[in-house]
C-alpha cells in the first residue's frame, strides 16, 4: 500500500507542478466556454444590419411592402430598385458588381407573378448564413401571405391580427415538476456536459499512456518492476493521474460556484446591469447529475486509461503511439459523433443502446440524463455494465501491460498481445 501511495504521489505532484497543469487549469474553462458559447454568439450577432436591395420586375405594390416590412426589423436595410422591361439584365449586372464590391450584401428578385407563384430569388454573399436566410424567408412569407389574403378581400385588420407574433416558450418537466429551465438551456447543458467528459477522459487517459511510454523510454521501468508489481505501478499511475483530473475539476467547480454565488457583484463589476444579468439563463445542475458525471468520469477514465496504458506498453516512442492509439481514440470519437443523435432524441432506442455500451456510456449517459428523464433502472444497469467491463478491461490490460513494458523493438500485433495476457 505504501508503495502504491508513493507512485500515486509522484504521478500527482509531478503533474500538478508542471506549467501544463497551471495553464490548462486557467485556460480550460475559457477554451470550453469558447468552444460551446462562441459559435452560438457568432451565429446570432455577426456584424451590423445587412444591406439588401429588392429588385422589382413589375410586381406592383408587393415589392414596396416587402421593403417596408424588411425595414421594421433591425437586421436588414432594404431599398427598392425597379428593373422593368429591357433594362432588367443591366440592373442585375450592376447590382452583382455592387455585391462583389461589398457595398451590398445581396438582392431579392421579385417577378411580376411573385405573389401567385411564391417564387422569389435571392442572390448574395451571405447565403450560407442560416439565420439571415431564415429571417428573410420569414419576412417574405409574411408579406406574401398578407398580400394573398388581402387580394381575396379579407379585412386588413384581421390579417394584421393573424400576423401577431407568437412567443413560443419551452420548459422542461422532470419528476420534480416543471422547472424554470428552458429547452435551450437544457440542450446547452447536455452538450457542455458531454463535451467536458469527452475532453477530460481523453486528456487524462492519454496522460497515463505518456507516463507509461516515458518510463519505458527512459528505461527506468526495469528498476521499477524490480521492486513494484506491474499492477501496483499501473494502478498507482491511474489513480495519480485521475487525482490530477479530479483536482482540476474541483478548482473549476469551486470557481464556477463562487462566480454563481457572487454573480451580481461580478456582473456589476464588468458593467452589466442587474436587469440584463437576470436575463442570463443559468441551467440548473442537480446534485444527482453531478454525482452521475463524477461516477461516469471515474469509470470511463479508468477504462480508457487502462486501454491507453496497453497502447503505451506496446510501443517504444511517442511517435509510434500516435498511430497505435488510433483504435482507442476512435472509440471516444464515435461517442462524440453520436452527440447530435442523442441530443435530438435522448430517450430514443439508439441513445438507450449507446448508453449501455461501456465504451460510450461514460459520455452518452450523462448527456441523456442532462437532456431528459432517464429511468433509474437504466442508469443502474448502465453503471453496472460499465463497472464490470472496467474491471475486466483493467484485469486484461494489466496482464498485457506487465509483459509489454519490458519488450522493446517490433510492435506486437493484437494477437500477440492477447497471447501475453493468456501466458502472463
Amino acid at each position: 500500500m505504501h508503495k502504491i501511495w508513493a507512485v500515486v504521489r509522484r504521478e500527482f505532484l509531478e503533474r500538478v507542478r508542471t506549467k501544463w497543469f497551471i495553464i490548462s487549469t486557467v485556460l480550460g474553462p475559457v477554451f470550453m466556454i469558447g468552444i460551446t458559447v462562441l459559435p452560438a454568439v457568432l451565429a446570432s450577432s455577426g456584424g451590423g444590419p445587412r444591406a439588401v436591395a429588392v429588385v422589382d420586375e413589375g410586381s406592383g405594390e408587393f415589392a414596396a411592402r416587402l421593403v417596408t416590412q424588411l425595414g421594421t426589423g433591425n437586421r436588414f436595410t432594404a431599398t427598392r430598385v425597379s428593373a422593368d422591361g429591357p433594362r432588367a439584365s443591366e440592373v442585375l449586372d450592376s447590382l452583382t458588381r455592387t455585391v462583389q464590391a461589398k457595398t451590398l450584401d445581396g438582392f431579392l428578385i421579385v417577378g411580376p407573378s411573385a405573389v401567385e407563384s411564391g417564387i422569389v430569388e435571392y442572390r448574395g454573399r451571405n447565403v450560407s448564413s442560416l439565420r439571415d436566410m431564415a429571417l428573410l424567408e420569414g419576412v417574405l412569407r409574411q408579406v406574401v401571405v398578407v398580400e394573398r389574403l388581402t387580394r381575396r378581400g379579407i379585412d386588413p385588420a384581421v390579417v394584421q391580427e393573424a400576423q401577431e407574433r407568437i412567443d413560443f416558450r419551452t420548459s422542461r418537466i422532470t419528476k420534480r415538476g416543471a422547472t424554470a429551465e428552458t429547452g435551450e438551456a437544457t440542450f446547452f447543458l447536455a452538450y457542455f456536459v458531454g463535451f467536458v467528459l469527452y475532453m477530460a477522459i481523453f486528456l487524462y487517459s492519454v496522460n497515463v499512456m505518456r507516463s507509461v511510454i516515458d518510463e519505458k523510454q527512459t528505461r527506468i521501468i526495469e528498476v521499477l518492476v524490480s521492486s513494484l508489481k506491474p499492477f501496483q505501478l499501473m494502478f498507482g499511475k491511474v489513480i495519480g493521474v485521475g487525482g490530477v483530473g479530479l483536482f482540476q475539476f474541483s478548482i473549476w467547480g469551486a470557481t464556477a460556484a463562487l462566480l454563481f454565488r457572487y454573480r451580481q457583484a461580478v456582473f456589476s463589476a464588468i458593467g452589466v446591469s442587474s436587469e440584463q444579468a437576470a436575463a442570463v439563463q443559468m441551467p440548473v445542475v442537480g446534485g444527482a447529475l453531478v454525482v452521475l458525471i463524477l461516477l461516469y468520469f471515474l469509470f470511463g477514465y479508468v477504462l480508457y486509461s487502462a486501454l491507453f496504458a496497453v497502447v503505451g506498453a506496446s510501443v517504444n516512442t511517442e511517435s509510434e503511439a500516435q498511430q497505435a492509439q488510433m483504435p482507442v481514440t476512435m472509440l471516444l470519437v464515435a461517442a462524440i459523433i453520436m452527440f447530435p443523435v442523442v441530443l435530438n432524441e435522448p430517450s430514443g432506442k439508439l441513445a438507450m443502446v449507446m448508453g449501455l455500451i461501456p465504451f460510450f456510456s461514460p459520455i452518452i449517459m450523462p448527456i441523456r440524463y442532462a437532456a431528459s428523464e432517464v429511468p433509474l433502472g437504466e442508469v443502474v444497469l448502465s453503471l453496472a455494465v460499465l463497472a464490470l467491463s472496467t474491471l475486466a478491461i483493467v484485469w486484461l490490460a494489466s496482464r498485457i501491460y506487465r509483459v509489454g513494458i519490458l519488450m522493446y523493438g517490433k510492435r506486437p500485433s493484437v494477437r500477440e498481445m492477447l497471447r501475453w495476457a493468456k501466458e502472463s
Binding site: 505504501h2 508503495k3 508513493a6 507512485v7 509522484r10 509531478e14 508542471t18 516515458d214 518510463e215 523510454q217 527512459t218 528505461r219 527506468i220 521501468i221 526495469e222 528498476v223 521499477l224 518492476v225 524490480s226 521492486s227 513494484l228 508489481k229 519490458l406
Partner: protein, 324 residues
Amino acid sequence: MSPIPHTTSERIVDLERITKRFAGHVAVSELSLSVPRGVVFGLLGPNGAGKTTTIRMMMNIMIPDEGVVRLFGDDLGGRHHSARIGYLPEERGLYKKMRVREVLIFLAETKGVARAVAAKKADHWLERLDLADWRLRKVEELSKGMQQKVQFISTMLHSPELLILDEPFAGLDPINAQTLKDIIVELARGGTTIIFSTHQMDVAEKICDHVCIIARGRKVLDGGLAEVKQVHGGTHVAVAFEDGGERAADTLNDRCLVAKADDYGPFAELALADGADPQDLLERLVRSGARLRRFERIEPSLHRIFLDKVGAETEQHGAEVSRA
C-alpha cells in the same frame, strides 16, 4: 570448478541449471552458480555472453525457461525480497523531469523506505559523491556520468544486503570509477554481498573475491580468484625492456620456450611452454643483448585466463559447428 568453501556457507544467490531461450537462440544454457554471503562476485564474459540475461533472471524480471533461481534461500523471486536487494540494470534510466533528490526519495520509497529516512540518506550520499549542489536540479540537466552516480546512489538508499550491479563501471571516468570501487569495497567490508558484471578484467581482478566467467550462455570457469589463478596453472613471466626489445624478438618467438605472449605495451605477459624454465628464458634474454627493465614471475592475470578460456570455448564451438 566447484565453488570454494566459504566461512559462512549461506548462499545468497543460488542458480540451478537455468536456461533462457529467445526466438532463435539460447541466451543462457544450464547455468549453475552460487554466491555466498559477503563476497564480491564478478560475473565476467564477452559481449553477448548472457550476463545481463542471467542478472535479469536473478531479479525475476525474466523467468527462466528451465531451472530454479533462489534468493536468500527461497524461490519467491527478486521482487519479494526487493527491500533487501539493490539493483542497477544495464539499461538504466531516471525520470528526466524530476529533481535529483525527489527521484532518489521516490525510488527508496518503492523499496519501502519512509520518506524522511530516504531524504536523509539521499542527502548523505549526494554529498559523498559530490552531487550535493545538484540535488535540486532536474535529472536532465546532469551529465551522463552524474546521472550514473545518481542511479548508483538509488541502489543503496535502503541499505540492501545484496547489491546487483550490471556493468556499473561502463561509461565512468577514472575518478568516478575509483570512487565507485572504493564504495563497493567499503560496502563489502560492511558485509554487503555484491554481484557485478563486467568485461573489464582489470577492475574485476582488483575487487573480486570470486569470479564466474561465462561465454555464449555457458559457464566457463567459476571459483575464488586465487583458486582460479592457481588452477589455471602454467608459468607466467612479465618482461619489460628499456629499448624496444627488438633484440629479444627471436627468443620470445621461440615456441619451445614461450607458448604465448601478450604485449600490453609497458610490459608483456608471457606464458612459458610446458617444461620451460624461466631461468633459461632470462639467460637467453640477457645473452641476446636486450636491456631488461623488468623480469618477474607472476600469476596469470585474469585477462589472460579470460582470453584462454573464452578463446578455447569459441574455438571448440567453431570445431563443433564445422563438424556438424
